[in-house]
Each structure stands twice: as structure tokens, then as C-alpha cells.
């Protein structure tokens, strides 16, 4: 009994009951809202069925309940009571229906954005990590470069956008450049510190095993600095995403940032919200994959 009447299930029932109440706004029927709520409930039940961990089930239930509470108040103050501005606060059903009709555009935007993001971000990884490994390992280079990073690192990369657009021939190249610069510094600085902070004991151990310079760099320093490299790469990824959407809002003709900016110019706030939610989902998915990679790479830590 207690299992059945948890917060999530109560929320689900309340939302179903809410749809019985007559609406004041008549821009959408209950269909799309019900699609949303039922999908969430199915997802929730799936998680319950799959997960063996009690803490995780409870958390899933609580999160679902919070989402229901948000949808409930959103639906209540828009469709049912209509006390919020209709243009700025579209009903949840409208968002769901637009999400479905605009999905092809959104997916194309996703593909275009990922192209820029991956190009800039992978370039940053490919330059920052090896460079920082070598510089961090050579004391003299480190002493010269470390103070420089303290000056260049904190410059907010957004300020490069106008210059990059002026400097570089196409929008594509300039956004890749900006994403590259933005992601480069956190990865570079974290890797540098990671190398510097590897325990002396570990370095001495490796030296006592008489390792070659190449082995030292790639089999000792690289894995030794890996926790720092990964935390730098996480920050780099977040910055890359911010810069990507910022650049797209300024100069793109497709992509996720463009979608939001384009429809806000037409005051089509329903689509703006659709874009924001879609971006949220994309970021969540990317972070999820990234975390999986991190857990795998650092599986040797407890």
C-alpha cells in the first residue's frame, strides 16, 4: 500500500484529476499534456523495475514528484486558471505539441551544433593535454608558463567572439576557434596542476624502475594527472557549450542557439521554451555520457 501511494504516484493521479477541471484557455486539448505525463510515469516505472538500489528508487520517485509538481502548477496557472500572460507563459500542452512538430528542426540543429562543439572541444583536448603534460614535467618550462596561464586563463572567452568573427573568414571557423579557446584553458591549467601535484613517491617509484622518458610521460604522468585532466575537461565542456550557444546566437543560421535566438526575435516564446528544454536535454545527455567515461577511466579510484 505504502509503495503505491508514494509522492510520484499521487502526483500522477492529481495531474489526471486536474485534466477533468474545465479549462479557461482553449488553445490546446488535454491530449499533449497527457502524453507528457504518461511518458514520465512510464519512464518512472521502468526505472523502478530496472534499478535494484533502494536509495535510487526513492530518489527517482522524489524527482518524478518534483517534476509533476512543476507541471501541475504550470498547467494550473496557464490552461486552467489563465492568470499568467498567454504569450510569455504558454501551456505545457503547447510546448509538448511544438516539441513533436519541430523535432526534425531540433535534431538538425543538434547535429549542426555537435559538429561545431566536437570540432572545437576535441581540438582543445588534443592540444591542451599533451602540451600541459610536457610543460608540467619540465620544471623550467613550467616556471615560465605557469605565470602566463594566470594572466591569460581568466580572460572570459566570450570577449574573443567579436574579434574571432572579424579575424576569421567563416562563421564556422570562428565558432570552432572560440570553443577551442574557451575549452583549452581549463583543460590546460588543470592538466598542468595535475602533473605538478603528482606525488613525488610515484615519480620516484617510476624513476627507480628506470623508465624511459616516453614511458614516464605517457604511462606515469598521464594516468597520474588523469583525475585533474578529467575535472579540467568537464569544466572545458561546460564552457564549450556556453560558447557554442553564444556564438550561434550571434552569427549562425542553424543550431540550437540559433533556434532559440531566431524565434525570440519573432516573440515566439513557445518555441523559445521548446529550444531551452531541448538544450537542457542535450546537455544532460552529454554530461551523462561524460560521467560514464569518467567513471570508467578512474575505475581504479575508490
Amino acid at each position: 500500500m505504502k509503495k503505491l501511494f508514494n509522492l510520484a504516484n499521487i502526483g500522477f493521479l492529481l495531474l489526471l484529476l486536474l485534466e477533468i477541471i474545465p479549462s479557461r484557455r482553449n488553445d490546446t486539448g488535454p491530449f499533449f499534456l497527457l502524453v507528457l505525463v504518461v511518458s514520465i510515469q512510464v519512464l518512472y516505472l521502468l526505472i523502478l523495475a530496472v534499478s535494484g538500489d533502494d536509495d535510487k528508487r526513492t530518489a527517482a520517485g522524489d524527482i518524478t514528484a518534483i517534476i509533476y509538481a512543476l507541471i501541475f502548477s504550470w498547467e494550473l496557472f496557464t490552461t486552467k486558471l489563465d492568470i499568467l500572460d498567454q504569450m510569455l507563459f504558454p501551456a505545457p500542452g503547447i510546448i509538448v505539441s511544438l516539441f513533436i512538430t519541430d523535432l526534425p528542426v531540433l535534431l538538425k540543429g543538434f547535429a549542426d551544433s555537435m559538429e561545431l562543439l566536437l570540432a572545437g572541444y576535441l581540438l582543445a583536448l588534443a592540444f591542451a593535454i599533451p602540451l600541459a603534460l610536457v610543460i608540467g614535467w619540465r620544471k623550467r618550462l613550467y616556471n615560465a608558463v605557469n605565470p602566463l596561464t594566470k594572466v591569460l586563463g581568466p580572460i572570459p572567452p566570450i570577449v574573443y567572439i567579436p574579434y574571432a568573427i572579424g579575424l576569421l573568414p567563416t562563421f564556422m571557423i570562428s565558432s570552432i576557434f572560440i570553443i577551442f579557446v574557451g575549452a583549452f584553458w581549463p583543460i590546460f591549467i588543470n592538466t598542468l596542476n595535475g602533473v605538478f601535484n603528482i606525488e613525488k613517491r610515484i615519480i620516484d617509484s617510476a624513476k627507480a624502475l628506470n623508465v624511459s622518458e616516453k614511458t614516464m610521460l605517457f604511462e606515469i604522468i598521464l594516468p597520474g594527472a588523469l583525475p585533474a585532466i578529467i575535472s579540467g575537461s568537464t569544466i572545458g565542456l561546460v564552457l564549450a557549450f556556453i560558447l557554442l550557444t553564444a556564438a550561434e546566437m550571434i552569427g549562425a543560421t542553424s543550431g540550437l542557439g540559433w533556434y532559440v535566438k531566431y524565434f525570440s526575435d519573432f516573440a515566439d516564446y513557445s518555441r523559445v521554451i521548446v529550444g531551452i528544454i531541448f538544450i537542457g536535454m542535450v546537455v544532460t545527455a552529454i554530461t551523462y555520457v561524460f560521467n560514464k567515461i569518467e567513471v570508467y577511466l578512474l575505475r581504479w579510484r575508490n
Binding site: A208, L209, N210
Partner: protein, 268 residues
Amino acid sequence: MTKIRLENVSYAYEDRGAALPAVEGINISVHEGEFVSIIGPSGCGKSTLLSLLAGLSFPSAGCIFIDGQVIKGTGPDRGLVFQHYSLFPWMTARQNIVFGIRQVKKSTGKKTIEKIADEYLGLVGLRDFAHKYPLQLSGGMQQRVAIARAFAMNPRVLLMDEPFGALDAKNRVVLQEVLLKLWDNGSEKKTVIFVTHDIDEAVLLSDRIMVMSARPGTVVREVPVEFARPRDRAALIGSEEYAGLRNKMVSLFYDDVLQKIGGSEVAL
């Protein structure tokens, strides 16, 4: 035959421009296949001496010879086991040993190296833990892996810095036996330099014990240990000869400390 010889070796740490002498005027020689322990109070320079022998640092004065040659840095002829566990945390027990062997047997095939690694894991009783990471192993197990790695690399000289210092009494005895077994496994014995704080450990394991004192950090006494091998731990500990030697070591060890207290170097 003399394997290792130190002539007037001194070493000073650099501390904000000032030189802090850690070891001074050390003269010792160690035979091929000899098991030598170094004991002495904390801070007398035992670890410093070992890192000089390993080639991780270089004497400020004097010379270290191995097989008559001045050492010029680390080398595959010397293996090192540290006081604190010195495994690479991102490699499993087996990978740690494989990594070690690969550094000395560059042209040997992967399969052969893995076989050697498994053999040594078996010798230290960790065959079932081959695929565990160091952080998933207890301190004693980690130290076994470190010892297995050092032996698997088959160096002629083994330098061990309080390898059992952080272990409980039972594990300590087990690992002492493992060490003796690996050292005296039928083929040519390795030369071992073994730093310890534990007088019983030194007496049970060594052919010779060097006693160091602090300020200046130098070897003040060399005590031969002439019990026949293999040594029967239980019988030996009960014997009068053992008690005699042990008492002698205790008084040597603590004389130094007592003198310091008497000489008001230690504020009470």
C-alpha cells in the same frame, strides 16, 4: 666479493640556500649476496642513504661504487621497495608487476612477461588478487605486490626502506618469511640492504647490521649476525645467543638516544 662500496659519502639537503647535512662520512662495504640491515633513530638519514644507493640523488661528497663502478643514476641492477606503498594506483597488481618487468626485459613477449608476473604473484600468495587495483588491496597486500615486482625484475641489488613498517605484527612475520624465501630461492642470492626500526626484524633477517646515529647521520657500528640459515624463528628467539645479541643491539640503539637526552640535546 664486494658488491657495494661507499667512500666518505655525505649528502646535504638544500633548504632556502642553507645546506642541511643529512648523512656524513659514510664508509661501508657490502658483499655480493649479503643481507645487510640498517637501523637507527628516526631522521638519522636511512632513507637518504637508500635514495643515494638507488641513484635517485647524488652524494654531495664521496663516491658510491657498485661492482667497482661509480653509480650514475638509477639502474636495472637495483630494485627499490619503499616505506610507503609504491605501486601505481591506476594499474592492477598484475599490471604493476608486468610494468616493472617490461622496463628490464624490453624485447620479451607479452605472454612471457605475464607468465613471470603470475608466478611472482603466486609466490607472494596473491594469485587471486591479480586483477585488483592497489586501493582495493590491504596495506600488507600492496607491499607484497611491491616486493613481488622488485623480485620479478630480478635486480642484483635490492634496496628496501622499512618495507614492513606499516604492517601489523602477523603480516610482518609472514612477509619476512616471503622475503627470505625469495632471497634464498636456490639461485644466486641478491644483495639486500634493508632499513628497519625493528631490532628483532634486523637480527632475524640479516647477515650484518649497521647501526646509524643522527647528527651527523653516519654508521657508528657494524654488528655481524652469525646464526646459521635457514633460521628457525621459534628456536632462535628462545636461544641464549639470540637474547645476548638482541640485548646488545638494544643497548647500542638506545645508548645513542639516552646520550642525546643526557647531553641536553632533547629538551625535557
